[in-house]
């Protein structure tokens, strides 16, 4: 049974959907939904990375000292409630995200706090916003953050405060209601069942063609597959490799692969005596079957990547093409004093494809003489151990989620200013794996502030080569992609790498 022409049905697992409040949300699904309910100042191009389009902001200007950005807002925008959208709403939303104490990690790193926002973010007039940087930084990174993080979506201050309770800034109400200016409004959210977005009658722009967008909770990939084949859903997200493969032959369906900035990696803790030895890390590097993992386990979900900066970004280098080579690895192990290998543990999420990668690595490690026991667990157990820096090996996924620039990627993977346990630099994978190179730190700090793009690019490349040579504790295997399968009759459907997919132009052609 085909879905109605003016409704879009999306099959997706809503298990990890936590909140629909833009300031509190985390997770891909909420991000996508809110991208259709709320507006941002600027939007990132879904295809051309590093390109930003005006949205609420007609234009923007970076100050010469690179210490502030001035946005000129449109003056014709109203919220769906009818309230006009002004600079005040943006500033309040910005502040609110920090007030509620959730989200906003990136902006925190840039130096914003709930205290300094009122003085750093100002509105000279109702349609102008000036954002100053708390400390020297690359202003493009801030623009990127505005486009890609939900916390800077603009909330209808008046409406939200009408529903505020006990100083929660309307959070309770916003969990199941929306106060945005986007083309859709949140009609209902039933945990573990569905989220329904309804076309707004008060939308300031051109009315979208689809009347409703329905996210239906379908945890089981094969159920989604059958539903896609029967036309009961229009889009299937998060499907298993085998199901996507099978659907490739169906002419009624199309597939879109969307890249992200996360990498699949094998990480070792350098606090562990074994992995503190460079030779052991070298052995690890050659005990991964990169090709097999990418071709068999990760088609549709990963593409080979052996360096920290994703391909296609300015500053990226071609892969060094490490190969699975047990003999070489054994040599390194022998040099390290482990001619007969050793025993270790691999922590990994009990989910596909993580377990699958871990199992593959377990087998390849065994060929080098390393006997690894797999310990599966949920996110808290696996990444909790990593945050506590108490593990041996971990197979995981991480990095800069959006992957829109080389700096963020390097920051999250190679930078570690303080290698002490109590520094608690959770966001830095290098800290988590106890990897520290003063030289890299300095290089990265300098590169960030380098105004010359060419020079900056060269510096990013140098960092990577140096990193390579030091043999890092984290070996990336693959750049993470997500793949959606959708009905061929969908027009103007462009999945967005930042989970910012917008449906305002999407429609069906039957």
């Amino acid at each position: 049974a085909a879905t109605p022409e003016d409704q879009l049905v999306i099959g997706v697992s809503l298990v990890n959907m936590l909140s629909l409040d833009p300031s509190a949300m985390s997770g891909r699904e909420s991000m996508e939904m809110n991208s259709n309910v709320y507006d941002q100042l600027v939007e990132a191009d879904p295809v051309k990375l590093g390109t930003y389009h005006p949205r609420l902001a007609k234009s923007w200007e970076i100050a010469d000292d690179h210490m502030s950005i001035t946005f000129k807002l449109r003056d014709d925008v109203t919220f769906n409630s009818g309230n006009p959208l002004t600079a005040e709403d943006f500033i309040w939303s910005f502040w609110r995200a920090f007030k509620l104490g959730i989200g906003g990690s990136t902006l925190r790193v840039y130096g914003y706090t709930v205290e300094n926002i009122p003085e750093l973010v100002t509105a000279p007039d109702p349609h102008t916003v000036v954002i100053r940087l708390p400390k020297p930084n690359d202003p493009m990174l801030l623009i990127d953050a505005i486009a890609s993080t939900g916390v800077l979506m603009v909330i209808d201050k008046k409406l939200a405060l009408e529903h505020a309770k006990d100083g929660d800034e309307g959070q309770g109400w916003l969990t199941t209601n929306s106060a945005g200016s986007g083309p859709y409004v949140l009609r209902s959210w039933q945990a573990n069942n569905s989220v329904i977005l309804e076309r707004s009658d008060n939308y300031w722009g051109e009315a979208p063609k689809l009347r409703r967008i329905i996210y239906r909770h379908m945890p089981e990939s094969q159920t989604k597959r059958l539903a896609l084949q029967r036309g009961d859903i229009d889009i299937g997200m998060g499907m298993a490799v085998s199901d996507i493969t099978a659907l490739q032959t169906d002419a009624k369906l199309k597939t879109a692969e969307v890249r992200s900035g996360n990498v699949y990696y094998l990480a070792a803790s350098m606090k562990d005596e074994k992995y503190a030895d460079k030779n052991v890390r070298l052995a690890l590097r050659h005990l991964i079957d990169y090709e097999g993992i990418n071709n068999t386990i990760l088609p549709f979900y990963g593409k080979l990547l052996q360096r920290p900066v994703p391909h296609g970004l300015s500053g990226a280098l071609p892969d060094p093409m490490y190969k699975f080579d047990p003999e070489l690895a054994k040599k390194y192990l022998a040099e390290a004093g482990y001619p007969d290998g050793f025993s270790t543990t691999i922590r990994v999420l009990a989910e596909s494809p993580f377990v699958n990668i871990a199992t593959a690595i377990q087998a390849s490690l065994a060929q080098g003489g390393i006997k690894a026991e797999i310990l599966t667990g949920n996110g808290d157990q696996v990444y909790g151990a990593m945050r506590a820096r108490d593990f041996e090996l971990i197979v995981g996924r991480g990095g800069d989620r959006n992957g829109s620039n080389a700096y963020s990627a390097l920051l999250s993977l190679v930078y570690n200013p303080n290698n002490a346990d109590d520094a608690k630099l959770f966001t830095l994978q290098a800290w988590r794996t106890s990897f520290q190179s003063k030289e890299i730190n300095t290089l990265l700090e300098t590169a960030l502030l380098e105004p010359d793009a060419e020079k900056q690019k060269k510096m990013y490349e140098d960092i990577q080569l140096l990193y390579e040579e030091l043999v890092p504790s984290l070996q990336s295997i693959s750049l993470s992609y997500s793949t959606v399968v959708y009905q061929a009759d969908l027009v103007d459907y462009v999945p967005h790498p930042f989970e910012n997919t917008r449906y305002r132009d999407t429609h069906k052609q039957r």
Partner: protein
């Protein structure tokens, strides 16, 4: 004498009520403290794995997790006694609202499954007992055991593949075609009933098409145990002297089986069925996952894995109340239907 009798009745009722309350309290306490040792970290769920320490700490305090456990427990209990079951930590929804929605979905599925399971399993069990150790018995054993020993998701997916994908006889995931969702007013929460009450036959048939397969699969799984229990109960009864006595009277075999022997196992069977029903609440998780059924089993399991204690507590309490209610109901059934317990 009469007054004495009554006072005893009241005393007994009070006693059983007290013991129920104690069990529930124990249940809540146990859950709460088990929650403390459970390896799930709600805060990191909320803030995401890459959050920094400050964010983490802020959320930690916002949830009141920095208080001593005893204080947290006290606060929780006192709120609960006031009828405030709180909001789910992670989704911010009112837990009670969620339960009111997911619970009827499972009740609807479970009830139909049980009707199917018992409706087929019990007669098969009787047949197996009558035909004990003859081919029919063996065939029934194998067929029902299949339902017991084949992974339920296998049957579920194969059912979907055949009846939904190839034949198109039944609906796919969910309780109803999604675009019908929310079209009928929720009165009982049971979609089949609500749609009929609203007179919306289109929604009703859509709901029927969606429930029939998962209910059958779930029913098949419970059929095995019901069938085997019926069989062994019946075998016990058929060897009783009163069965011979009935035959002596010239009563037909059909009546001997159904009016005499079966009548004696009715209550026993109802007890078993009641308990099977109770275990379906939780046991339906896999079926609910495969059929994207927004039910209680999935809700409980998800919240468990996410570590949302507020939601878990209410679920556990609900399961406890249901289990105890079913138990008491079974006792009551004995009292009403088994003349041997009548004073």
């Amino acid at each position: 004498m009469g007054r004495f009798f009554k006072r005893n009745k009241i005393k007994r009722a009070a006693q059983s009520l007290a013991s129920v309350l104690v069990t529930l309290l124990l249940l809540v306490t146990l859950t709460f403290f088990l929650g403390q040792v459970m390896p799930v970290d709600v805060v990191s769920r909320l803030v995401g794995p890459d959050a920094d320490q400050a964010t983490y700490q802020a959320t930690y305090e916002r949830l009141g997790l920095d208080q001593p456990i005893i204080v947290q427990f006290g606060i929780y209990i006192s709120r609960m006694l006031q009828g405030d079951f709180g909001t789910a930590l992670l989704t911010g929804h009112q837990v009670l609202d969620d339960i009111v929605r997911v619970f009827p979905a499972t009740i609807e599925l479970g009830t139909l499954a049980l009707l199917i399971g018992a409706g087929i399993g019990v007669p098969l069990g009787v047949l197996a007992a009558v035909q004990r150790n003859r081919p029919a018995d063996h065939i029934i054993r194998v067929v029902t055991l299949l339902g017991h020993s084949v992974p339920i998701f296998w049957i579920g997916l194969m059912g979907l593949l055949l009846f939904y994908s190839y034949l198109g006889w039944v609906g796919g995931g969910g309780r109803v075609e999604i675009y019908y969702d929310g079209l009928v007013e929720t009165r009982t929460g049971l979609l089949l009933v609500d749609s009929l009450l609203a007179g919306d036959t289109e929604v009703f048939w859509s709901a029927v098409r969606h429930i029939i397969l998962p209910a059958t699969v779930l029913g098949y799984a419970s059929m095995a145990s019901l069938c085997r229990l019926t069989r062994s109960f019946m075998i016990d009864q058929l060897s009783q002297e009163y069965v011979t006595a009935a035959r002596v009277k010239g009563v037909s075999e059909w009546n001997v089986i159904w009016h005499h022997a079966f009548r004696n196992i009715r209550v026993q069977l109802l007890t078993v069925i009641a308990l099977t029903y109770g275990s379906m609440l939780e046991g339906a998780v896999l079926i609910e996952t495969i059929f994207a059924w927004p039910g209680f089993g999935q809700y409980l399991t998800n919240n468990l894995l996410l570590g949302d204690m507020n939601a878990i507590m209410v679920c556990v309490l609900l399961v406890g109340v249901i289990f105890i209610t079913l138990n008491m109901l079974a006792d009551l059934l004995y009292k009403i239907f088994d003349p041997r317990t009548v004073q």
